[in-house]
Protein backbone atom coordinates (compact mmCIF):
# COMPACT_ATOMS: atom_id res chain seq x y z
CA UNK A 1 0.00 0.00 0.00
CA UNK A 2 1.15 3.47 -0.85
CA UNK A 3 0.82 4.82 2.65
CA UNK A 4 3.25 2.39 4.14
CA UNK A 5 6.41 4.31 3.49
CA UNK A 6 5.85 7.74 4.97
CA UNK A 7 8.64 8.84 7.27
CA UNK A 8 6.81 10.00 10.41
CA UNK A 9 4.26 7.25 10.25
CA UNK A 10 3.87 4.64 12.86
CA UNK A 11 6.11 1.69 12.76
CA UNK A 12 4.67 -1.47 11.41
CA UNK A 13 6.40 -4.30 13.07
CA UNK A 14 4.60 -7.50 12.54
CA UNK A 15 6.95 -9.74 14.40
CA UNK A 16 5.63 -11.22 17.58
CA UNK A 17 6.78 -9.39 20.59
CA UNK A 18 8.16 -11.30 23.48
CA UNK A 19 5.97 -10.00 26.27
CA UNK A 20 7.63 -12.13 28.84
CA UNK A 21 10.11 -10.26 30.93
CA UNK A 22 12.19 -13.29 31.78
CA UNK A 23 15.10 -13.86 29.43
CA UNK A 24 15.06 -16.88 27.18
CA UNK A 25 16.44 -19.97 28.89
CA UNK A 26 20.08 -20.76 28.18
CA UNK A 27 21.11 -22.71 25.11
CA UNK A 28 20.90 -26.50 25.25
CA UNK A 29 24.56 -27.17 25.83
CA UNK A 30 24.66 -24.77 28.79
CA UNK A 31 21.64 -26.10 30.50
CA UNK A 32 23.44 -28.45 32.77
CA UNK A 33 25.82 -25.79 33.95
CA UNK A 34 23.36 -23.31 35.36
CA UNK A 35 21.37 -23.27 38.51
CA UNK A 36 17.60 -23.10 38.79
CA UNK A 37 17.51 -19.32 39.22
CA UNK A 38 16.16 -18.73 35.73
CA UNK A 39 13.16 -21.02 36.21
CA UNK A 40 9.80 -20.34 37.73
CA UNK A 41 9.65 -23.71 39.39
CA UNK A 42 10.19 -27.38 38.67
CA UNK A 43 7.42 -27.51 36.08
CA UNK A 44 8.99 -24.61 34.21
CA UNK A 45 12.36 -26.35 34.29
CA UNK A 46 10.80 -29.60 33.10
CA UNK A 47 9.02 -27.84 30.26
CA UNK A 48 12.28 -26.28 29.18
CA UNK A 49 14.03 -29.65 29.29
CA UNK A 50 11.17 -31.24 27.37
CA UNK A 51 11.36 -28.60 24.65
CA UNK A 52 15.02 -29.47 24.21
CA UNK A 53 13.97 -32.89 23.00
CA UNK A 54 12.84 -30.94 19.94
CA UNK A 55 9.74 -33.02 19.48
CA UNK A 56 6.07 -32.43 20.04
CA UNK A 57 5.27 -32.56 23.71
CA UNK A 58 3.03 -35.58 23.10
CA UNK A 59 6.05 -37.45 21.71
CA UNK A 60 8.57 -36.66 24.42
CA UNK A 61 10.27 -39.43 26.26
CA UNK A 62 9.14 -38.94 29.82
CA UNK A 63 11.76 -41.37 31.02
CA UNK A 64 14.54 -39.38 29.37
CA UNK A 65 13.02 -36.21 30.75
CA UNK A 66 12.99 -37.60 34.28
CA UNK A 67 16.60 -38.64 33.94
CA UNK A 68 17.63 -35.23 32.65
CA UNK A 69 15.88 -33.52 35.50
CA UNK A 70 17.41 -35.79 38.11
CA UNK A 71 20.83 -35.36 36.56
CA UNK A 72 20.42 -31.61 36.53
CA UNK A 73 19.42 -31.45 40.17
CA UNK A 74 22.24 -33.80 41.17
CA UNK A 75 24.78 -31.64 39.41
CA UNK A 76 23.56 -28.51 41.08
CA UNK A 77 23.61 -30.14 44.49
CA UNK A 78 27.08 -31.53 43.86
CA UNK A 79 28.18 -27.94 43.35
CA UNK A 80 26.63 -27.15 46.71
CA UNK A 81 24.09 -24.79 45.24
CA UNK A 82 20.95 -24.38 47.31
CA UNK A 83 17.93 -25.93 45.65
CA UNK A 84 14.45 -24.96 46.75
CA UNK A 85 12.37 -27.70 48.34
CA UNK A 86 9.83 -27.93 45.54
CA UNK A 87 12.58 -28.91 43.07
CA UNK A 88 13.51 -31.74 45.42
CA UNK A 89 9.90 -32.85 45.80
CA UNK A 90 9.66 -33.00 42.03
CA UNK A 91 12.95 -34.92 41.90
CA UNK A 92 11.58 -37.48 44.34
CA UNK A 93 8.41 -37.82 42.36
CA UNK A 94 10.34 -38.22 39.10
CA UNK A 95 12.56 -40.87 40.70
CA UNK A 96 9.41 -42.71 41.67
CA UNK A 97 7.99 -42.25 38.17
CA UNK A 98 11.24 -43.59 36.72
CA UNK A 99 11.04 -46.71 38.84
CA UNK A 100 7.40 -47.27 37.89
CA UNK A 101 8.27 -46.90 34.22
CA UNK A 102 11.21 -49.30 34.39
CA UNK A 103 9.56 -52.03 36.45
CA UNK A 104 6.56 -53.63 34.82
CA UNK A 105 3.40 -53.35 36.83
CA UNK A 106 2.82 -56.35 39.02
CA UNK A 107 -0.69 -57.83 38.96
CA UNK A 108 -2.77 -56.60 41.87
CA UNK A 109 -0.76 -53.40 42.12
CA UNK A 110 -3.22 -50.70 43.15
CA UNK A 111 -0.82 -47.82 42.51
CA UNK A 112 -1.18 -45.88 39.28
CA UNK A 113 0.91 -47.29 36.50
CA UNK A 114 4.06 -45.58 35.29
CA UNK A 115 2.34 -44.86 32.00
CA UNK A 116 -0.49 -43.12 33.74
CA UNK A 117 1.89 -41.02 35.82
CA UNK A 118 3.85 -40.16 32.69
CA UNK A 119 0.65 -39.14 30.91
CA UNK A 120 -0.23 -36.93 33.84
CA UNK A 121 3.11 -35.19 33.71
CA UNK A 122 2.82 -34.82 29.97
CA UNK A 123 -0.62 -33.32 30.38
CA UNK A 124 0.61 -30.81 32.88
CA UNK A 125 3.48 -29.78 30.66
CA UNK A 126 1.20 -29.44 27.66
CA UNK A 127 -1.29 -27.43 29.64
CA UNK A 128 1.35 -25.05 30.94
CA UNK A 129 2.74 -24.58 27.48
CA UNK A 130 -0.75 -24.04 26.10
CA UNK A 131 -1.40 -21.30 28.63
CA UNK A 132 1.89 -19.63 27.74
CA UNK A 133 1.03 -19.73 24.07
CA UNK A 134 -2.40 -18.38 24.85
CA UNK A 135 -0.88 -15.50 26.82
CA UNK A 136 1.37 -14.67 23.89
CA UNK A 137 -1.50 -14.80 21.46
CA UNK A 138 -3.58 -12.58 23.68
CA UNK A 139 -0.80 -10.04 23.97
CA UNK A 140 -0.26 -10.05 20.23
CA UNK A 141 -3.87 -9.29 19.54
CA UNK A 142 -4.72 -5.78 18.42
CA UNK A 143 -5.02 -4.27 21.84
CA UNK A 144 -6.86 -1.22 23.01
CA UNK A 145 -4.45 1.68 23.15
CA UNK A 146 -1.91 -0.05 20.93
CA UNK A 147 -3.57 -0.83 17.64
CA UNK A 148 -7.17 -0.10 18.49
CA UNK A 149 -8.26 3.17 19.92
CA UNK A 150 -11.14 4.50 21.89
CA UNK A 151 -12.51 7.99 21.42
CA UNK A 152 -9.62 10.33 22.09
CA UNK A 153 -11.71 13.26 23.20
CA UNK A 154 -14.67 11.83 25.04
CA UNK A 155 -17.48 14.25 25.64
CA UNK A 156 -18.68 13.58 29.13
CA UNK A 157 -22.38 13.49 29.53
CA UNK A 158 -23.35 16.40 31.62
CA UNK A 159 -25.42 15.59 34.60
CA UNK A 160 -26.85 18.78 35.96
CA UNK A 161 -27.77 18.47 39.58
CA UNK A 162 -30.64 20.74 40.30
CA UNK A 163 -31.83 21.35 43.75
CA UNK A 164 -35.48 21.73 44.32
CA UNK A 165 -35.94 23.85 47.37
CA UNK A 166 -38.56 23.01 49.82
CA UNK A 167 -40.23 25.68 51.89
CA UNK A 168 -43.81 26.16 52.95
CA UNK A 169 -45.69 29.39 53.36
CA UNK A 170 -45.71 28.70 57.07
CA UNK A 171 -41.90 28.46 57.11
CA UNK A 172 -41.75 31.73 55.26
CA UNK A 173 -44.13 33.58 57.56
CA UNK A 174 -42.52 32.13 60.64
CA UNK A 175 -39.13 33.29 59.43
CA UNK A 176 -40.45 36.76 58.81
CA UNK A 177 -42.31 37.07 62.09
CA UNK A 178 -39.45 35.88 64.22
CA UNK A 179 -37.13 38.33 62.56
CA UNK A 180 -39.44 41.20 63.13
CA UNK A 181 -39.83 40.23 66.76
CA UNK A 182 -36.10 39.92 67.11
CA UNK A 183 -35.78 43.42 65.72
CA UNK A 184 -38.19 44.98 68.22
CA UNK A 185 -36.25 47.26 70.54
CA UNK A 186 -37.40 46.95 74.14
CA UNK A 187 -36.19 48.96 77.11
CA UNK A 188 -35.18 46.56 79.78
CA UNK A 189 -34.39 47.69 83.29
CA UNK A 190 -33.45 44.93 85.62
CA UNK A 191 -35.18 45.21 89.00
CA UNK A 192 -32.80 45.77 91.83
CA UNK A 193 -33.25 43.43 94.73
CA UNK A 194 -32.00 43.58 98.24
CA UNK A 195 -29.57 40.81 98.73
CA UNK A 196 -28.11 39.76 102.06
CA UNK A 197 -24.50 38.95 101.60
CA UNK A 198 -23.21 35.91 103.45
CA UNK A 199 -20.99 38.10 105.56
CA UNK A 200 -23.91 40.31 106.58
CA UNK A 201 -26.07 37.32 107.38
CA UNK A 202 -23.36 35.79 109.49
CA UNK A 203 -22.82 38.95 111.47
CA UNK A 204 -26.54 39.36 112.05
CA UNK A 205 -27.00 35.75 113.06
CA UNK A 206 -24.10 35.85 115.52
CA UNK A 207 -25.50 38.96 117.06
CA UNK A 208 -29.01 37.49 117.35
CA UNK A 209 -27.95 34.20 118.90
CA UNK A 210 -25.49 35.91 121.20
CA UNK A 211 -24.72 33.66 124.18
CA UNK A 212 -28.18 32.03 124.19
CA UNK A 213 -27.93 28.31 124.84
CA UNK A 214 -31.64 27.72 124.45
CA UNK A 215 -32.99 26.12 121.26
CA UNK A 216 -34.64 28.91 119.30
CA UNK A 217 -36.00 28.54 115.77
CA UNK A 218 -34.33 30.45 113.01
CA UNK A 219 -37.54 32.13 111.90
CA UNK A 220 -38.00 33.43 115.41
CA UNK A 221 -34.60 35.06 115.31
CA UNK A 222 -35.29 36.53 111.90
CA UNK A 223 -38.83 37.63 112.56
CA UNK A 224 -37.99 41.29 112.18
CA UNK A 225 -36.30 40.77 108.83
CA UNK A 226 -38.92 38.59 107.16
CA UNK A 227 -41.52 41.30 106.89
CA UNK A 228 -40.88 42.29 103.25
CA UNK A 229 -41.91 39.40 100.99
CA UNK A 230 -39.28 40.36 98.42
CA UNK A 231 -36.52 39.89 100.94
CA UNK A 232 -37.70 36.71 102.58
CA UNK A 233 -35.91 34.34 100.25
CA UNK A 234 -32.57 36.05 100.35
CA UNK A 235 -32.69 36.50 104.13
CA UNK A 236 -33.47 32.83 104.73
CA UNK A 237 -31.00 31.55 102.18
CA UNK A 238 -28.11 33.68 103.34
CA UNK A 239 -28.62 33.07 107.05
CA UNK A 240 -29.04 29.34 106.51
CA UNK A 241 -25.81 29.16 104.54
CA UNK A 242 -24.05 31.20 107.21
CA UNK A 243 -25.43 29.03 109.99
CA UNK A 244 -23.90 25.95 108.38
CA UNK A 245 -20.57 27.75 108.35
CA UNK A 246 -20.94 28.64 112.03
CA UNK A 247 -21.70 25.00 112.85
CA UNK A 248 -18.61 23.96 110.98
CA UNK A 249 -16.56 26.40 113.00
CA UNK A 250 -18.04 24.98 116.20
CA UNK A 251 -19.76 28.19 117.26
CA UNK A 252 -23.40 27.02 117.20
CA UNK A 253 -25.52 23.84 117.10
CA UNK A 254 -28.39 23.26 114.72
CA UNK A 255 -31.14 20.71 114.87
CA UNK A 256 -34.29 19.92 112.96
CA UNK A 257 -36.81 17.57 114.49
CA UNK A 258 -38.80 16.75 111.35
CA UNK A 259 -38.53 17.11 107.61
CA UNK A 260 -39.35 20.69 106.58
CA UNK A 261 -39.73 21.48 110.23
CA UNK A 262 -38.28 24.62 111.82
CA UNK A 263 -34.52 24.86 112.32
CA UNK A 264 -33.43 25.37 115.94
CA UNK A 265 -30.15 26.96 116.88
CA UNK A 266 -28.21 27.73 120.01
CA UNK A 267 -24.74 28.76 121.04
CA UNK A 268 -22.51 25.75 121.55
CA UNK A 269 -21.28 25.24 125.04
CA UNK A 270 -17.65 26.15 125.19
CA UNK A 271 -16.80 23.35 127.71
CA UNK A 272 -17.63 20.79 125.01
CA UNK A 273 -14.97 22.04 122.69
Amino acid sequence: MGHASHPDGPRMTEADINWFDTPAPPAAEDVLHVDVGGYEGPLDLLLDLARRQKVDLSAISVLALAEQYLGFIDKIRARRIEVAADYLVMAAWLAYLKSRLMVPQAPGDEEPSGEMLAAMLQFRLKRLEAMRTAASRLMNRPRLGFQIYARGAPEPIEIARRSIWEASLYDLLKAYSSQRERGVVTDYTPRLRTVWSLQDARDILKRLIGESQEWVSLDAYLVDYLTTPAERATVRASTFASSLELVRQGEIDIRQTETFGPLFMRRRRSDRA
Binding site: H3, G152, A153, E166, L173, Y176, S178, Q179, R180, E181
Partner: protein, 223 residues
Protein backbone atom coordinates in the same frame (compact mmCIF):
# COMPACT_ATOMS: atom_id res chain seq x y z
CA UNK B 1 -12.84 -2.23 -19.01
CA UNK B 2 -9.53 -0.93 -17.74
CA UNK B 3 -11.22 2.37 -17.05
CA UNK B 4 -13.89 0.84 -14.86
CA UNK B 5 -11.24 -1.06 -12.97
CA UNK B 6 -9.46 2.20 -12.41
CA UNK B 7 -12.69 3.81 -11.22
CA UNK B 8 -13.28 0.90 -8.88
CA UNK B 9 -9.81 1.17 -7.57
CA UNK B 10 -10.05 4.86 -7.02
CA UNK B 11 -13.36 4.31 -5.25
CA UNK B 12 -11.68 1.77 -3.04
CA UNK B 13 -8.73 4.03 -2.39
CA UNK B 14 -11.07 6.90 -1.57
CA UNK B 15 -13.00 4.74 0.87
CA UNK B 16 -9.78 3.65 2.51
CA UNK B 17 -8.60 7.21 2.86
CA UNK B 18 -11.89 8.19 4.39
CA UNK B 19 -11.65 5.30 6.83
CA UNK B 20 -8.17 6.34 7.87
CA UNK B 21 -9.26 9.93 8.46
CA UNK B 22 -12.28 8.69 10.38
CA UNK B 23 -10.13 6.56 12.68
CA UNK B 24 -7.54 9.29 13.19
CA UNK B 25 -10.10 11.95 14.01
CA UNK B 26 -11.95 9.60 16.31
CA UNK B 27 -8.88 8.56 18.27
CA UNK B 28 -7.27 11.97 18.55
CA UNK B 29 -7.44 13.88 21.78
CA UNK B 30 -7.30 17.21 19.99
CA UNK B 31 -8.65 18.52 16.74
CA UNK B 32 -6.35 17.47 13.91
CA UNK B 33 -5.08 19.73 11.17
CA UNK B 34 -4.73 18.53 7.62
CA UNK B 35 -0.96 18.48 8.02
CA UNK B 36 -1.28 16.17 11.03
CA UNK B 37 -3.25 13.67 8.98
CA UNK B 38 -1.32 13.89 5.73
CA UNK B 39 1.43 11.43 6.75
CA UNK B 40 -1.14 8.69 7.15
CA UNK B 41 -2.37 9.06 3.59
CA UNK B 42 -0.39 8.77 0.40
CA UNK B 43 1.27 11.71 -1.17
CA UNK B 44 -0.70 14.03 -3.34
CA UNK B 45 -3.98 13.24 -1.61
CA UNK B 46 -6.45 16.11 -1.43
CA UNK B 47 -7.23 16.05 2.27
CA UNK B 48 -9.49 19.08 2.16
CA UNK B 49 -11.72 17.29 -0.32
CA UNK B 50 -11.76 14.14 1.80
CA UNK B 51 -12.65 16.09 4.92
CA UNK B 52 -15.51 17.83 3.14
CA UNK B 53 -16.84 14.50 2.01
CA UNK B 54 -16.53 13.03 5.50
CA UNK B 55 -18.26 16.06 6.91
CA UNK B 56 -21.17 15.50 4.54
CA UNK B 57 -21.38 11.83 5.42
CA UNK B 58 -21.70 12.72 9.10
CA UNK B 59 -23.89 15.78 8.61
CA UNK B 60 -27.07 14.04 9.67
CA UNK B 61 -25.64 11.59 12.13
CA UNK B 62 -25.56 11.84 15.91
CA UNK B 63 -21.94 12.88 15.66
CA UNK B 64 -20.73 15.55 13.26
CA UNK B 65 -17.36 16.38 11.84
CA UNK B 66 -16.76 19.99 12.77
CA UNK B 67 -14.06 22.46 12.00
CA UNK B 68 -12.34 24.24 14.87
CA UNK B 69 -10.03 26.84 13.42
CA UNK B 70 -7.41 24.88 11.53
CA UNK B 71 -8.39 21.63 13.14
CA UNK B 72 -11.10 19.07 12.59
CA UNK B 73 -12.84 16.96 15.21
CA UNK B 74 -15.87 14.76 15.79
CA UNK B 75 -18.37 16.31 18.13
CA UNK B 76 -21.80 15.32 19.36
CA UNK B 77 -24.47 16.83 17.13
CA UNK B 78 -25.53 20.13 18.59
CA UNK B 79 -29.24 19.39 18.56
CA UNK B 80 -28.63 16.34 20.77
CA UNK B 81 -26.68 18.31 23.34
CA UNK B 82 -29.73 19.11 25.42
CA UNK B 83 -31.01 15.60 25.24
CA UNK B 84 -27.74 14.18 26.45
CA UNK B 85 -27.69 16.49 29.39
CA UNK B 86 -29.45 14.83 32.20
CA UNK B 87 -30.93 16.54 35.11
CA UNK B 88 -31.01 15.00 38.48
CA UNK B 89 -33.29 16.64 40.95
CA UNK B 90 -32.91 16.57 44.64
CA UNK B 91 -35.21 18.23 47.08
CA UNK B 92 -33.61 20.12 49.88
CA UNK B 93 -35.05 22.30 52.58
CA UNK B 94 -34.27 25.96 52.20
CA UNK B 95 -31.73 27.17 54.72
CA UNK B 96 -32.83 29.48 57.48
CA UNK B 97 -30.79 32.36 56.07
CA UNK B 98 -32.40 31.90 52.67
CA UNK B 99 -35.85 31.64 54.17
CA UNK B 100 -35.36 34.82 56.19
CA UNK B 101 -33.96 36.73 53.25
CA UNK B 102 -36.77 35.55 51.04
CA UNK B 103 -39.42 36.57 53.53
CA UNK B 104 -37.95 40.02 53.91
CA UNK B 105 -37.81 40.49 50.18
CA UNK B 106 -41.38 39.29 49.93
CA UNK B 107 -42.74 41.82 52.44
CA UNK B 108 -40.40 44.71 51.83
CA UNK B 109 -39.99 44.60 48.10
CA UNK B 110 -38.52 46.40 46.35
CA UNK B 111 -35.73 45.92 48.86
CA UNK B 112 -32.04 46.55 48.56
CA UNK B 113 -29.46 44.35 50.10
CA UNK B 114 -28.79 46.97 52.77
CA UNK B 115 -32.45 47.00 53.69
CA UNK B 116 -32.57 43.25 53.94
CA UNK B 117 -29.56 43.32 56.19
CA UNK B 118 -31.12 45.98 58.36
CA UNK B 119 -34.11 43.80 59.09
CA UNK B 120 -32.09 40.62 59.50
CA UNK B 121 -29.47 42.26 61.65
CA UNK B 122 -26.75 40.28 59.89
CA UNK B 123 -25.00 40.58 56.59
CA UNK B 124 -26.56 38.58 53.78
CA UNK B 125 -24.10 36.38 51.95
CA UNK B 126 -24.03 36.71 48.21
CA UNK B 127 -24.70 33.01 47.94
CA UNK B 128 -28.07 33.39 49.62
CA UNK B 129 -29.40 35.87 47.07
CA UNK B 130 -27.89 33.84 44.22
CA UNK B 131 -29.62 30.75 45.53
CA UNK B 132 -32.96 32.49 45.73
CA UNK B 133 -32.55 33.83 42.23
CA UNK B 134 -31.48 30.43 40.98
CA UNK B 135 -34.53 28.90 42.59
CA UNK B 136 -36.47 31.39 40.52
CA UNK B 137 -38.16 33.06 43.47
CA UNK B 138 -36.25 36.31 43.59
CA UNK B 139 -35.28 38.66 40.81
CA UNK B 140 -33.42 41.89 40.46
CA UNK B 141 -36.00 44.56 39.77
CA UNK B 142 -33.93 47.65 39.12
CA UNK B 143 -31.71 50.12 40.86
CA UNK B 144 -32.80 52.53 43.55
CA UNK B 145 -32.25 56.15 42.66
CA UNK B 146 -30.15 56.82 45.78
CA UNK B 147 -26.42 57.22 46.29
CA UNK B 148 -24.66 54.02 45.33
CA UNK B 149 -27.64 53.07 43.15
CA UNK B 150 -28.20 49.75 44.93
CA UNK B 151 -29.99 46.92 43.18
CA UNK B 152 -33.57 46.38 44.28
CA UNK B 153 -34.87 42.85 44.71
CA UNK B 154 -38.38 41.54 44.40
CA UNK B 155 -40.18 38.23 44.14
CA UNK B 156 -41.27 36.49 40.97
CA UNK B 157 -44.41 34.79 39.77
CA UNK B 158 -42.73 31.49 40.49
CA UNK B 159 -42.55 32.60 44.10
CA UNK B 160 -46.30 33.19 44.21
CA UNK B 161 -46.80 29.89 42.48
CA UNK B 162 -44.66 27.94 44.89
CA UNK B 163 -46.21 29.40 48.01
CA UNK B 164 -49.73 29.21 46.68
CA UNK B 165 -50.35 32.94 46.66
CA UNK B 166 -52.52 34.60 44.08
CA UNK B 167 -50.80 37.91 44.52
CA UNK B 168 -48.50 39.60 46.99
CA UNK B 169 -51.50 41.13 48.70
CA UNK B 170 -52.35 37.61 49.86
CA UNK B 171 -49.38 37.76 52.24
CA UNK B 172 -50.90 38.02 55.71
CA UNK B 173 -50.69 41.37 57.46
CA UNK B 174 -49.85 42.24 61.06
CA UNK B 175 -53.18 41.26 62.55
CA UNK B 176 -53.30 37.99 60.68
CA UNK B 177 -49.78 37.12 61.76
CA UNK B 178 -50.77 37.87 65.34
CA UNK B 179 -53.94 35.90 64.94
CA UNK B 180 -51.97 32.92 63.69
CA UNK B 181 -49.76 33.15 66.74
CA UNK B 182 -46.74 33.90 64.64
CA UNK B 183 -46.26 37.26 66.24
CA UNK B 184 -46.56 37.54 69.98
CA UNK B 185 -48.62 40.19 71.71
CA UNK B 186 -45.60 41.97 73.16
CA UNK B 187 -44.97 44.24 70.25
CA UNK B 188 -44.59 47.99 70.22
CA UNK B 189 -47.80 49.62 69.13
CA UNK B 190 -46.08 51.42 66.29
CA UNK B 191 -44.81 48.26 64.62
CA UNK B 192 -45.89 47.93 61.04
CA UNK B 193 -45.73 45.25 58.43
CA UNK B 194 -45.15 46.79 55.02
CA UNK B 195 -47.43 46.21 52.13
CA UNK B 196 -45.35 44.60 49.45
CA UNK B 197 -45.25 46.40 46.16
CA UNK B 198 -45.45 44.27 43.06
CA UNK B 199 -45.85 46.91 40.40
CA UNK B 200 -43.42 47.30 37.55
CA UNK B 201 -41.12 49.90 38.97
CA UNK B 202 -41.38 52.37 41.82
CA UNK B 203 -40.83 56.04 41.29
CA UNK B 204 -37.41 55.78 42.84
CA UNK B 205 -36.34 52.77 40.81
CA UNK B 206 -34.48 52.76 37.52
CA UNK B 207 -34.82 49.79 35.21
CA UNK B 208 -31.89 47.41 35.02
CA UNK B 209 -29.83 47.59 31.93
CA UNK B 210 -29.66 44.13 30.27
CA UNK B 211 -25.89 44.23 30.69
CA UNK B 212 -26.12 45.27 34.32
CA UNK B 213 -24.10 42.76 36.32
CA UNK B 214 -26.21 43.36 39.40
CA UNK B 215 -24.51 43.28 42.76
CA UNK B 216 -21.40 41.57 41.53
CA UNK B 217 -19.38 44.74 41.33
CA UNK B 218 -20.16 45.59 44.90
CA UNK B 219 -19.05 42.13 45.90
CA UNK B 220 -15.76 42.55 44.14
CA UNK B 221 -15.12 45.86 45.78
CA UNK B 222 -15.71 44.40 49.17
CA UNK B 223 -13.24 41.62 48.78
Amino acid sequence: MSESVQADQSGEVLRRHLRILEALLFASQEPLRAVDMAPYLGEGVDIALLLTQLQQEYAHRGVNLVRRGEGWAFRTAEDLGLLLRREEHETRPLSRAALETLSIIAYHQPATRAEIEEVRGVATGKGTLDLLMEAGWVRMRGRRRTPGRPVTYGTTDAFLDHFGLESLSDLPGLDELKGAGLLSGRLPPDMQIPLPFDGALRDDEDPLDPSDPGDNEVEDEQT
